[in-house]
């Protein structure tokens, strides 16, 4: 049987301007534009959101600390121009905190080289999981989307659990 599932996109949310992006989970979609709409639908109905990124899961290089203990990813020595990679990491294992947070950016010529650069550029430990992906893999919402995609959710107080009315 052929796989009819649509590609997976990882969703990153920035809840306020200037704050780091945080992975919220993933959605399936046929293309980035639909991924943005699905991400909004699934992850921004209640919480505040200022900006949202979707990134094809296939374009993310992910490694756990354990995997990196065994071996660092091989970097092929090709003459490729450097570009910007975003670095996300999971630094906390507390219950409920499952996702990776934005650490910063590195310049590199491949995902593997970006991961190696990230290990040096962000020396704080522990880090349990590393994710790197090209800046060019991101589809982002803009300022112009805030009003229609995110602002209405703030007024929907009936979606808050505290607003549910129950009778005994």
């Amino acid at each position: 049987m052929s796989d009819t599932q649509w590609p997976t996109y990882e969703v990153f949310i920035q809840d306020r301007p200037e704050r780091p992006y945080r992975n919220a989970g993933s959605v399936h979609a046929v293309d980035p534009e639909m991924a943005v709409l699905n991400a909004r639908t699934v992850f921004v109905r209640r919480p505040a959101c200022h900006s949202l990124w979707v990134v094809p899961a296939a374009s993310i290089l992910a490694r756990t600390a354990e995997e990196l203990e065994d071996s660092l990813p091989d970097v092929t020595d090709e003459n490729v121009p450097e570009e910007t990679y975003h670095v996300f990491r999971k630094t906390n294992q507390r219950r409920g905190i499952t996702y990776v947070d934005q650490a910063g950016e590195v310049e590199a010529s491949s995902p593997e080289a970006a991961l190696r650069a990230a290990l040096e550029a962000f020396p704080e430990r522990p880090v349990y999981v590393w994710w790197v992906f090209q800046a060019s893999a991101i589809t982002a919402t803009g300022e112009e989307d805030i009003d229609s995609l995110f602002a209405p959710a703030r007024e929907k107080t009936y979606r808050q659990q505290s607003q549910y009315r129950t009778t005994l």
């Binding site: 649509w6 959605v27 399936h28 979609a29 046929v30 293309d31 534009e33 639909m34 709409l37 699905n38 909004r40 639908t41 699934v42 109905r45 009003d147 229609s148 995609l149 602002a151 209405p152 929907k156 009315r165 009778t167």
Partner: protein
């Protein structure tokens, strides 16, 4: 102007128009809610339930404006009127059909609603202008969602295109009913409260025709609305109401 300063001669026409706006949103919301748990993928299941809730939210704003004008109660209007008393157009009560049918109806309606709201924001009747400004932000997302689907279905596979075209052929004449004036509308237009529907229809067609064509679809040739009165209903409406009103009518005194 508002409820207090409105020309008394305009009260009935305005109440009729507000009820029509509210009923359309309410029934479309209910039809969309029928997909909950049945949509083609999880993400769309959440999206369509969200959309259903939004449309019902818009309905409650219009029922609220109707209530401020006439003293009506939204729950009474929604749960205790019979089909003959509803003032929706047939478009919004049609059974949900397949996914293409639901999305095509939503697209045609969203485009019409956006045209309405752009004009209603400038309504001389302040409560309408306030509601329109509030609803428009959300409606821009609805339009983005339904139009994105139409393009992908229209330009997708042979089957998705076929289903989408069939839906459009079936829905076009029903959609035109959105632009049939109520008997009292001309007085409202004259007072700057609601837009001229003939002009609104041409704005709507200017928006949807090119979009449908570039989505690989052929726009039907009909130019006549499926029904000209909002008092003419298909049997679907009574069936919908039987389900939607069942619980409320079991115990009319219940406190919610």
């Amino acid at each position: 102007m508002n409820e207090l300063t409105l020309d008394p001669a305009l009260r009935q026409p305005l109440a009729d128009r507000l009820l029509a706006l509210a009923d359309d949103e309410m029934l479309l919301g209910h039809r969309n809610s029928e997909w909950t748990g049945h949509a083609p993928i999880l993400e769309e299941d959440i999206a369509i339930a969200n959309l259903a809730q939004d449309e019902m939210g818009h309905a409650s704003l219009w029922y609220g404006a109707h209530g401020a004008l006439t003293g009506s109660d939204a729950d009474q209007l929604v749960f205790f009127r019979d089909a003959s008393e509803y003032r929706n157009c047939q478009l919004t009560a049609l059974p949900k059909g397949d996914w293409a049918f639901t999305l095509m109806r939503q697209y045609l309606f969203d485009a019409a609603e956006l045209c309405w709201l752009e004009r209603l924001k400038r309504s001389e009747y302040q409560p309408i202008a306030d509601i329109a400004a509030k609803v428009e932000r959300e409606e821009a997302y609805h339009y983005r969602h339904s139009s994105a689907w139409i393009r992908r279905l229209g330009l997708g596979t042979e089957e998705s295109k076929q289903r989408c075209q069939t839906a459009l052929d079936e829905l076009w004449a029903y959609a035109l009913q959105l632009f049939v004036p109520l008997p009292g509308d001309s007085a409202l237009v004259e007072a700057g409260i609601t837009p001229d529907l003939r002009r609104l229809q041409s704005v709507w067609e200017g928006r949807v025709r090119p979009y449908l064509i570039t989505s690989g679809l052929a726009v039907p040739l009909e130019t006549t609305a499926a029904a000209t009165s909002r008092q003419d209903h298909l049997p679907h409406l009574a069936e919908l109401l039987a389900e939607m009103q069942e619980v409320a009518r079991k115990d009319p005194e219940a406190q919610w």
